[in-house]
Every structure is written in C-alpha cells, then in structure tokens.
C-alpha cells in the first residue's frame, strides 16, 4: 500500500475511462483527476470525485462462503480451497452428466481485461462452449454488432480529441451531461472556445444534456431508424454523398438507400417531431463536414438497436465522414471495461482478440495458441437467453462475476426464478449483500477497485492501468486467480499458470498479434485492426509503468497512431465498409389499453448501475435520494397521480413503487424510471423486473427503453423519513428506500397500516431505551409525528411522519449528524426540520462535488448578484469541478424566482 504518494489508476465507472490519482491518507482515500491521462486531462465527475468514499470495508464480502440450501442460516465461511473445490467439482460433475453446454458464465464490464481474458479462455477453450456472456450485452452489444456489420470488426473510429475538432456533435440517445460528464464538459469547453460548434441532442426526454444544446430533436421513443433513414435520404437528395468514397470503400449503398427511402412528412409523423425541426437538423448535418454522432443506450438498448447503429453509420459512410479528424460515429460505452471485454472476446458471439467463432481459421488459431483441448464452435447463449436456459434447466450451473443480474437484466424476476432453479450458482463479488448474492451457493470474494491490478479500455480504445493502492480486504482474490484455480483443478494448470496480471496481459497482447498479418489476399486472413504486438513482452515493472495507450499498438510501427480507416481500409474480407439496409420497425411491444404508456429507463446523475458502489458514498446520495417515476403532468392528472406521492408502476412483467415527479423532461405518453434502485436500497424499486425481455435479433441487447406500462396511485396512510446513525431493520414497512448519509443512513418510508401509537412504534423501531433523551412532536389529527433521539447532545436518529408527503427538508437535519454536539438552537429546530435561522438550510444538493444546495444557489442569484454559471462558480464553487450540475444551475438562473 502507499501512504502519501499518489497512485495513478483508472476510474471504475463509465466508459470515459478517466485517469485518477488515488492517495491514501489518515482521513481515508483521496481521489483527484490525473492531469496526465488523455481521457480526462485531470477532470473528474462527481462520481469519480467521490470514489474515496467508496473505498471502505462496509458491506465487503471478505471470505469465501458456502450456502446450504436446506438451511435457513446465512452462507458459512469456508477456505478458498474448499470453495474452489466445490466449484470445480460441481461444474465438472454437471458437465460430465449434461455436457459442456450445461454450464455458463455471466460476467461483467466491471472485470479487468485480464479477468475477462482468463474467463473467456477457460470457457471457450477448456469447457468448450461459448456460454459466457456479460452485462455488456445490456449496454453496447448493438454497437458491437453495428460496428461489425459496417466495418467488419468492432472498431470505434473516433477519439475524444476528435470532439474538439468537430463542427457538429450529434448526441443520440445519450444523456451525456449526466452519464459521461467529463466528455460533456470537454464538448462544452470546445464550444466555449469555438461557438460555431453546434450541438444537437436527439432524445425523447428533455434531459440535462439538452439544456446547453443548440437543437433538441425530441423524437418518439424507438423511432430513431426513421429519423436516420430520413437523414440518409435527405443527404442523398441534397447531394451530400461522397460518391468517390462510397464507390471505392463501401458496398451496399443502393440497398441501404432503398430501405431508407422515406419522405420528410413520414419521418415527422413517425418520430413525432415537426418537420421544421427535422429539416433544421438534416440541413445542419448535410452542410457540416466535421460531424460526430455520439450514441449511447438510447440507441443500443432497443429491439432495433443494431439497425439504429447502422442507420447512423450509414449516414457517415454515405458522406465519407469517417476516418478523418473531427468526424465519425462514436459509441459511448457505459462501463469501464466493456471495451476490454470486447477485445478479449468475452461475449457469447465472439471468440477472442476480435476473432470470430464462426471462422474455422480463427478457431484453429486460437485453439493452438491456447493449447486447449477443444474450442467452442458456435455462439453461446446471450444474456437474456442464458437466464431463460437456466430457468428451463438446460443450464444447470452458472458463475456470475462482478455483476448483479437480479437487478440489471430485463424481466428481472425471471432471473430470480432461474437462479432458484439452478443447481449451482457461484457469485464472485466484492459486496456481501446484493440482490444476487442470496441465490449463491458459493460466494467468492473478489478484489475491489483499489485492490485490482490490470487494465481496462475506454470508449476511445485507450488501454489504461488500474493499479492497487490499498491493502486487500479479507481474503479477496483476483477473479483471474479464482478462475485459474478451477482450471488447475480440472487439469489445466499448465495453461493457467498465471502468477500475476502482467502475464495474462502479455498473453492477451500476443494473441492479438497472433496471425495478425496484413495478408488481405489470403483466403485465410486473420487480419484484425486490434493489434497489441507493441505491448507484448512487458515484464511486471514495464506493465506497472504502462502509460495509457490507444490501440492498435503495433510492434516496430512507429506510426501506431495512424487514424483508423484513414486509409479507407475496413475489415470485411474485401476491405470495404458496408452500408446496411435498415428497414425501420416499431418497438417489440406496443402500448395497449391496459398498459397505455411507455416505460423508459436510465441513469440519474450521481448513481451508477446497481449502486453497490455509489450507494456507499454520502456525497452521491443527496442529489437523487430515492427512486422516482417521471411522468408528464397530463398523464399524471389522467392517472390521478400527485407529485411527491407514491405510484405503482406496472408492466406485464412486474411492478414497482416510486415517488411521482413531473420534471417536465418526459413526453406525454412516456414515463422514466431510473435503473439503480434494488432490494438493498428500496423495498420495491427494481425497474429491471418491469422491462420486457425482448432483444435485438442481431445483438441480443434488450429493449430497456420501451416497455408498455401503466401507472396508478399507490395509496398509503402515512409518509415519513428516518435519519439514523445505525442501520434499521425495515421489515414490515410497506415502502422504504435507503440512502447513505455522512455518518447516518437516510430512510424514506411509507405505510399502509394505520398507526395508532406512533410514540411506542417509533421508540421500538429506533431502539430507544427508557429514559433516553427523546423529543417528540405529535399532531394526531394531521397524522403528524416527529421524534428525535439524542445521546449526550449528539443526534442519534430522527423520525418524521405525516399523512401527506409534505415533510420538511432533510438537508439541514442531515448536517446535524456531522456535529459531535448540537447546541440549543439546533435542538429547537430539530423537530421543525430546519434551523431557526433559515439561511442555515442550504436546501437540496445541486452540486454534489462541493455540496452546494439549492437555497444557497438561489440566494446567490437573487441577492448575491450572480447572473451566470461562471459567477455562481466563482462565488460558491458549484459547477466548477465535474460540471454535471451546470444544466441545473442554468435552469435556476432562468427560473422565474430568480428574475426579481
């Protein structure tokens, strides 16, 4: 471990792949942006900035454990030996009895490339099936499929630097401001320098990203292909075609144009966008040479996701806007190492190192390289199919690594049923209690961020190191080690004799180089763009010292930074790109009477995935502290919903209960529910359980953005919240959510059972002994009860209940938990929920980086003379770190209350 000296590593959140410098101090882990990292040049978003708060022992899975399904006891700690024997024997027995297709791995874009590589090698070369899929399937597999169809290889042809060169940036299905804040800030900086840079946002929602855009195209959910077919048609008709490029470097233009042929009016009708807006966008695109189209989950997570990707790429190929600075289609990935997983082939339809399962030459090459007894010959089951196969009993053992499918997969209750039926469930994780771990027969503790040692690849193909900087907790081990140990038990010790991550990286790099000659003329070409030959042979020191590198890194090639596709060569066997015909189609499930609205899902600003990490950080909890359903006011009225009350959200597949919001961001006919909340943080808020399990036929990516849904009031007798230093049991509470606070946990609660004796219930719920310092306020007729538990002038817990959701702000109360002693004035305000001097209540957090609240900001606007984001930043620092709150600051600046 290091003390004092900073360790450069890579952020474990989104695909931006920012470099961070971690420093261990007596006060904990401090994290700062790495100014030398090309992805972020020192900038960090709030999630990255708060990483230090997540490097804690709280909740860690520290030891291997076995669960006895016949016993009600929690899993019992065992030695690694026992645990690994159990896994190896269990999987071997099932394979012996039912064949190699009866076992599966479900892994994650959270794995390091080295873990991913070993898992993929073990399954495809030694189990001999391709039943290894990953949560990246849920995220960017449509982009992968689109790339492969268009380019012949999964290649992202744009870099972050290109964003600074572009004249038009189109953000499609991407709330970049929240989900890739560092990139968004980079774009805004470029625009500030060069105001002619135009930003167009194509999104059914009016997201924070829209706030600073030049044009918003609020298309109907799922209508993207119509929009881009219309663009392709418009480009062709307006003479924007680069005929030379198209004829020399592409194929399929005629078919693509024929499939795309559509009149503007039809596009307008299908997309629900007025033709003026469409024309504005089309003209802007047509006349701007340097255009980058960034796309993200709004494109990928669709039953037509791959076609959406190709409809975008088609527009770039038709105009030849690819392979040159400042232009191209740009997939923004959601996970830190989705790209690394793609590189090693860790998906069910890939082989390894950008080689194909279906290609016998590739298979032979890889099998030889691995010295493996067999090699998978056909694609395995993709995520959704894989869990269906588990439920059907076709797969009898599964090893889940670094992911939480009970939360994140569509029809997530089906995942529970499947895991319940599965003979053997192994879960490798860093967290002891997730929604998935209760189903594990074997729990294996994995290295967490800060312990992990290896590499990740970001959205722009930049490989960078994750380096350890804290001692390993408990008996956690690298995932590659656990996998190798199982391989060794199966008799493959020689092929898995890894002792350190750099050996695996070297093997992976050598495989990318293996057979990767430029022998395009050969019928048996294994040529790939992915080539890390320049990174082979790194010893441990060289590996540790490795700087971030964009691939390819070709040995002996001085100019490895040659721009991809700049030579007009693609990776189909004919070296041409493909325009893919994309006949548009509607989302799989249409709305109907019973389910009249469309459910859209996505992220909130300060959380990530299933909150196993962000849920630990108080700083990240305050911006959006509970699950919500965002609905158009007219739909809300029709459904008799009131803002701040609770609603039940139901689809054919499942239901949840969340707080009603009318943010003004969603279109009529659609609702939005965030993806993060799960059973660790809420009683009933797993949106995965509601999502239809339909997938894109090519990529297998689920349609997370479009499920028919209905929303109805969820009536409760009382609403309340509890702030408590200790964790509280929530059994029996109708509805609850939990959020991390600084030295406390925050619970939002609601109940259907009428409570007659709140004082008694509250005391027992909070564990307040007789004679304790216990303050109460009771307004029985209004259904109001408030109480606070104080120990030696230190607030221990407080509880606020009302028959209406009109509870006071939690902001000031939360601040009391950071005081070792409250004074008399604090005590006076304790059950009001606000200080006597109301200016001490900073209001709900807007800027999480610096903890700046809304009241503070509006005061600065109204009385402090701050009339710009810059002025606010200068005065309060808000928005000056990650900038993800700038859209919200902008909103406050123009809000009517601030115009006085």
């Amino acid at each position: 471990m290091s003390t004092g000296a900073g360790v450069n590593t890579t952020c474990p959140y989104c695909g931006t792949g920012c470099g961070v410098t971690a420093r261990v101090t007596t006060a904990g882990v401090e994290v700062a942006g790495d100014t030398t990292h090309p992805a972020n040049l020192g900038r960090l978003c709030v999630k990255g900035s708060a990483l230090g708060e997540t490097v804690v022992d709280e909740g860690r899975l520290l030891y291997p454990a076995l669960r006895d399904r016949n016993s009600p006891n929690p899993p019992q700690r065992v030695s690694w030996e026992t645990a690994l024997d159990t896994v190896a024997d269990g999987f071997a027995r099932i394979m012996r009895e039912h064949g190699p297709e009866s076992v599966a791995w479900y892994v994650s874009g959270q794995l390091l490339t080295e873990d991913y590589y070993v898992a993929n090698k073990l399954v495809k070369g030694f189990v001999g099936s391709a039943n290894i899929d990953t949560n990246s399937r849920l995220c960017m597999s449509s982009a992968v499929a689109g790339h492969k169809r268009a380019f012949g290889e999964d290649i992202v042809p744009v870099s972050y630097e290109d964003l600074e060169d572009a004249e038009l940036i189109v953000l499609v299905g991407s709330n970049t401001a929240w989900c890739h804040p560092v990139l968004y800030q980079r774009i805004l900086k470029a625009k500030a320098r060069r105001p002619s840079l135009q930003i167009v946002v194509i999104d059914p929602r009016r997201t924070a990203t829209v706030e600073l855009a030049d044009l918003h195209v609020p298309l109907r959910a799922g209508s993207d292909v119509w929009l881009f077919n219309g663009l392709l048609t418009f480009l062709e008709r307006s003479g924007a075609t680069d005929a030379g490029f198209v004829s020399e470097h592409t194929r399929g233009v005629a078919d693509a144009l024929a499939a795309a042929d559509i009149e503007l009016e039809t596009v307008a009708q299908q997309c629900g966008v007025d033709s003026d807006t469409l024309t504005a966008f089309y003209r802007l695109f047509a006349r701007t040479e340097k255009v980058i189209t960034c796309f993200s989950m709004g494109v990928n997570q669709s039953s037509a996701g791959t076609d959406k990707v190709n409809s975008i790429i088609n527009c770039h190929l038709l105009t030849g806007r690819i392979g040159k600075p400042g232009m191209g289609p740009f997939s923004l990935t959601g996970q830190p190492n989705a790209m690394g997983g793609r590189e090693v082939g860790g998906l069910a339809n890939m082989l390894a190192a950008h080689m194909d399962l279906e290609n016998p030459d590739h298979r032979a090459l890889v099998q030889t390289f691995w010295n493996s007894p067999r090699i998978a010959e056909k694609p395995g089951l993709k995520a959704v199919e894989l869990f269906e196969a588990i439920e059907q009993g076709r797969i009898k053992a599964v090893w889940i690594m670094a992911t939480n499918p009970v939360v994140s997969l569509p029809d997530a209750d089906q995942i529970k049923r499947a895991l319940q039926r599965c003979e053997m469930v192994v879960v490798s994780d860093v967290i002891a209690n997730t929604d998935t771990t209760p189903f594990a027969d074997v729990l294996l503790p994995a290295h967490a961020w800060g312990e992990k040692d290896g590499t990740v690849t970001n959205s722009e193909r930049c490989i960078s190191r994750q380096r350890p900087f804290v001692p390993v907790a408990g008996e956690a081990r690298p995932d590659w080690w656990a996998l190798s140990e199982v391989a060794r038990r199966w008799g493959y010790g020689e092929q898995f004799a890894y002792t350190s991550a750099h050996e695996i990286f070297d093997e992976h790099a050598r495989l990318t180089a293996c057979g990767n000659g430029d022998d395009a003329a050969s019928d048996h070409s294994c040529a790939r763009y992915l080539n890390l030959s320049g990174l082979t042979g790194l010893d441990r020191q060289a590996f540790d010292a490795m700087k971030p590198r964009r691939w390819p890194v070709v040995q002996g090639d001085a100019d490895t930074n040659l721009r991809v596709f700049s030579d007009g060569r693609y990776y189909h066997s004919d070296r041409r790109a493909r325009l893919v015909p994309t006949p548009p189609r509607l989302p799989a499930h249409a709305t109907a009477n019973e389910f009249p609205l469309v459910l859209n899902t996505g992220r909130v600003r300060d959380h990530w995935h299933t909150m196993t990490r962000t849920g630990l950080a108080p700083r990240l909890a305050s911006h959006t502290h509970e699950p919500y359903v965002d609905i158009h006011p007219l739909d809300a009225a029709e459904a008799l919903l009131k803002v701040d009350e609770l609603a039940r959200v139901t689809t054919r597949w499942g239901s949840l209960v969340a707080r009603v919001r009318c943010s003004g961001e969603v279109q009529q006919g659609t609702i939005f529910v965030p993806i993060h909340w799960n059973e660790q943080f809420a009683s009933n808020a797993r949106v995965g359980a509601l999502v239809n399990p339909v997938v894109d036929p090519v990529s297998g990516e689920p349609e997370f953005k479009h499920t028919p849904v209905r929303v109805e009031p969820f009536r409760v007798d009382w609403h309340g919240f509890v702030l408590s230093r200790g964790r509280l049991p929530m059994e029996g509470v109708t509805w609850w959510t939990r959020a991390a606070g600084a030295q406390f946990a925050r619970y939002e609660v609601a109940g259907r059972q009428k409570v007659d004796n709140w004082p008694a219930l509250a005391r027992s719920a909070l564990g307040v002994p007789d004679g304790a310092d216990w303050i109460e306020y009771i307004d029985t007729a209004s259904g109001v009860y408030r109480a606070a538990y104080v120990i030696e002038d230190r607030v221990e817990a407080c509880l606020f209940v009302s028959s209406r959701p009109d509870l006071p702000s939690r902001a000031w109360l939360s601040s009391l938990f950071q005081k070792p002693k409250i004074d008399n004035l604090d005590r006076l305000g304790l059950l009001v929920g606000e200080p006597l001097d109301s200016s001490a209540d900073t209001g709900p957090t807007i800027c999480s980086c610096f903890g700046v609240g809304r009241n503070t900001i509006t005061n600065a606007i109204e009385q402090g003379g701050c009339n710009s984001v810059e002025a606010l930043g200068a005065k309060l620092r808000c928005g000056t770190n990650c900038g993800s709150c700038i859209p919200e600051l902008q909103k406050l600046l123009v809000a009517p209350t601030a115009t006085a």
């Binding site: 009771i778 029985t780 006076l828």
Partner: protein
C-alpha cells in the same frame, strides 16, 4: 369558567388595625396644574368629605365634582382608579377604603416575597405618596362594614362614614377554609395577603414541618416559599394531579417532578378529615386514616368572592356581585364592581388579566366617556416559582371537536400542548418553555386561523415568522 384560580385578590376577612394613611396637606400644593388633594380627613369618626364642588376652584372651571368611594385598596380597585385618572382626573374626589394596613401592592407577587426573592417594598404598586400626589384619601386598615344605598353613604369599621355619588366595589375574594375540625387552630393560615406572608415567615423561623393543603397555583407557590424559607414542606392535594384546573396530566407530572427535585413532598388523593392539635396545630388526619405531623398548615384550596358587604347592602349577588357589561351592579347603577368579587355573564374570574380589562371598561364609564363594553375575558396562568416555567390558558383539556399539538422534550423539561378547534387555538399548556405563551394567548384571543402555521406553530413564533428577507421588490 377556566381559572377560578387562587392567585388573586382577597379582601381579608379579618380586620387589621394599624396603619392609616391619609394624604397630607403638604402635598396639596404639589401640582399647580393638577387638581388639589382632598382635604385631609380628620380623625376616625369624622364625617366623610363632602362633595367639594365649591372648594375646588383651582383652574378647573365650574364642573361640579362628584365623590367616588372605592371599597377595596387592592389591584382591581386601584387599577380602575388609575384608569379613571388617565381619562379624567377632575371628575371625582376619591376616597379609598382598604382592609389591609398598606398601600396597594401586587398581590400576585406575594409568592416571591414568601420565597425571599422580593421584599414587600418591591411589590408596592401605589405608595402613600402616590395617593397624596393624586389627592386621594386612603383609609388603609379600615374596612367598610356597611353601605347605605339610600343615603349613599358607607360606614367603615372605625365608624367613619363617607358619602358617595358613585361607589366602586373591589372587595376581591377570601380564601376558602375547608370546614374540618381544627381549621381555626393557631398555625392554620391562608395565603392571601401580607399578613399571611408575615405569619408564614414567622412560622418558618420557629417551626420545622409545614403542610400546604391544596396543590393548585397558590398552594404550590406557598409550598415553594416555605421550602425556600427552610421548612420541610408537604403538599396535600385531594386530586390525583397538581393544578388540574390549569395543567393536563403530563405537565402536572413534570411539575411535580420538578418540585420534588427541589425537596417538596407530595401526597395526592389525600382528603383532609381533621387538623390535629390543641393549642397549636400538630398534624393532619386524612379520611383514609393516615396522619401527618405539621407545625404549620397553609390552606390554599380555593377562594370565594368576598360579597358579604354587597349582599348585606341588598345588591343582587349570585356566586358574586352580578354586573352588566359596564360593570354596574344590576341592582344599583351608582354602584360599580370590578375584580374577583364580580360575576359577569355567569363567570367569576380569579386571575389578574380580566381585572385589567374590567378596570379599563369600568373607568371609562365612571369618567362618563363610556362606550366600551366588557364582554368577558380569556385567561391565562403562570406559576411564580423561580425556575419553573408554566403557562396555561383556555380549554386545555379539549373535547371531541378539538385537535391537539403536543411537544415533549423531557430532558429539557419542556412540554407544550395546544388545543385547536377549527384551526384556532382554544387552549394552551406550556411547561418548561413558556416563551411563546403570550403569543399563543394572543392568537387564541384573536381567534386567528393558524392553518398555515400549523406545522411550526408549536415550535414558537420565531419559526412562524418569515425571515425579514432582504429581497427588494421586483
């Protein structure tokens, strides 16, 4: 009615001789602009001053002066006189008879005197000098014993007779003495006036064990005072809860705990059967047979309006002298009455606030500028025991049509309760934190709709007042 409380004015039943205060002639010239003092009354037995229309020539025009006689030199009577002087200091020659041999003092403050926190001088409201300055004739220690309404004259115990044009009765009330054997023993006293305080102070010097019968406001103040004077004090109360007319049970428990912590003993549900002793009190016996030793017994079980004089004068009395909204006797419009001896709209008050209101109305009518009507008072109570803060007003029990707000902070010893009806405060009990008592009282009196404040109301005015925002207008 709410608070027939104890903390009020009682005209002593017993005549106390002694000090007689008259305005001296030396003061007559004090104020050239003011009206002159009445001529000094001569010795006892001399006739009352006549109406001195002829003598009163000093720059006052020709308005004939009438004679106002005030019976009762207590807070109600003298406040009325003060109010009257403010309105018109030329209308009357004023003569005041008082049973106690002092000037007018703040009877409410007797408890701090007993507790040794204040002196008698501290609590004097109107000194002899004041009477002199205002030309008021005061006969202190000489209670009126008869009213001849036909002749419009009053006769004092001393035999002095004074005629009147208007008569103001402010005879207050007297302590209720429970009719048990031994109630007249030496060492058994009430807590009503300076004499009682003197008696208790004397007992405290010579005796050890005091029993206060009555766990109401006055009894507790007496108990506290005696405890402060070093006595071993037990409060005996017939109910199961202290100050049950002012406090709900939770507040009463807090109060009892606080007083117990100071060393006062309590015996609740205790019904006194007899006071024991032959030459002097030696103890008490209760109906359940228990006995308790005592060297001093203070009776503080309640007051009765002092209406013997009015009744004997043939004025219509029920529980007290019945007056109308102008504070005039129903029987005789020349006769006014204020204070605890008054029954107005079926209500008899035992607290000080109604008295101020009555005094204002009564004075305006006496001054002939009467357009005010007294329509009754809402009352509030505070206990004057240093370190114990308690406020009570209105219907603090509530009923089926009321709602309540309750706040409890036992560690700070605070308890607050508001009783609401139709979003209006109808009752208040505050214990420990009484700062906002007057504000709640005002909201209650004004029947202010508190709906918009409800969520913060019980946390006090400071939380309900929007901060003086520095926001300028648009």
């Amino acid at each position: 009615m709410n608070a027939t409380a104890l903390n009020a004015l009682i005209v002593p039943a017993r005549l106390r001789g002694g000090l007689r205060v008259t305005s001296g002639p030396g003061h007559a010239e004090r104020s050239g602009a003011g009206r002159s003092a009445s001529p000094a009354a001569s010795a006892a037995g001399q006739g009352a001053p006549r109406t001195q229309s002829g003598d009163d020539a000093q720059g006052q025009g020709n308005r004939p002066r009438q004679h106002l006689v005030v019976i009762g030199n207590g807070m109600a009577g003298m406040r009325t006189v003060e109010e009257l002087l403010k309105l018109d200091d030329q209308a009357y020659d004023i003569t005041v008879f008082g049973a106690e041999p002092h000037g007018n003092y703040n009877r409410i403050m007797l408890s701090p005197v007993l507790a040794g926190e204040k002196t008698v001088d501290d609590i004097m409201l109107n000194t002899p000098q004041w009477y002199a300055d205002h030309g008021i004739t005061l006969y202190a220690g000489d209670p009126v014993v008869a009213i001849d309404r036909r002749a419009r004259r009053v006769r004092a115990a001393s035999g002095r007779e004074v005629g009147y044009d208007r008569l103001l009765l402010a005879t207050g009330s007297k302590p209720f003495v429970i009719p048990v054997p031994g109630a007249d023993l030496p060492g058994v006293i009430a807590f009503r006036d300076i004499g009682d305080v003197d008696a208790m102070l004397a007992a405290a010097r010579n005796h050890r064990n005091a029993v206060v019968i009555g766990g109401g406001l006055l009894g507790l103040e007496a108990a506290n005072g005696l405890m402060r004077q070093g006595m071993n004090v037990t409060v005996v109360h017939v109910m199961d809860s202290l100050m049950e007319r002012q406090l709900d049970k939770p507040a009463a428990i807090l109060l009892q705990q606080a007083l117990e912590a100071r060393g006062i003993g309590f015996m609740l549900n205790a019904n006194t059967e007899a006071i024991l002793g032959s030459d002097r009190v030696t103890g008490l016996r209760f109906k359940d047979g228990r006995e308790m030793a005592a060297d001093l017994v203070v009776m503080a079980v309640g007051i009765r309006p002092n209406v013997d004089l009015a009744r004997s004068a043939g004025l219509h009395c029920e529980r007290a002298i019945v007056v109308d909204d102008t504070l005039q006797s129903l029987s005789d419009p020349r006769i006014y009455a204020v204070g605890e001896c008054v029954q107005h709209r079926k209500t008899v008050y035992g607290l000080v606030a109604p008295l101020w209101e009555q005094a204002r109305v009564c004075a305006s009518h006496l001054a002939g500028v009467g357009h005010n009507r007294y329509s009754g008072s809402v009352t509030s109570t505070q206990l004057k025991v240093t370190g114990i803060h308690l406020f009570s007003a209105g219907d603090f029990i509530g009923g089926a049509d009321t709602e309540e707000l309750v706040f409890r902070d036992p560690r700070r010893g605070a308890y607050k309760r508001l009783v609401l009806r139709d979003q209006r405060i109808v009752g208040v009990v505050l214990y420990g934190d009484v700062q906002d008592g007057p504000w709640y009282f005002e909201l209650m009196q004004n029947q202010t709709n508190i709906e918009s404040l409800r969520d913060r109301l019980l946390f006090g005015r400071a939380f309900c007042t929007p901060p003086a925002g520095p926001t300028g207008g648009p």
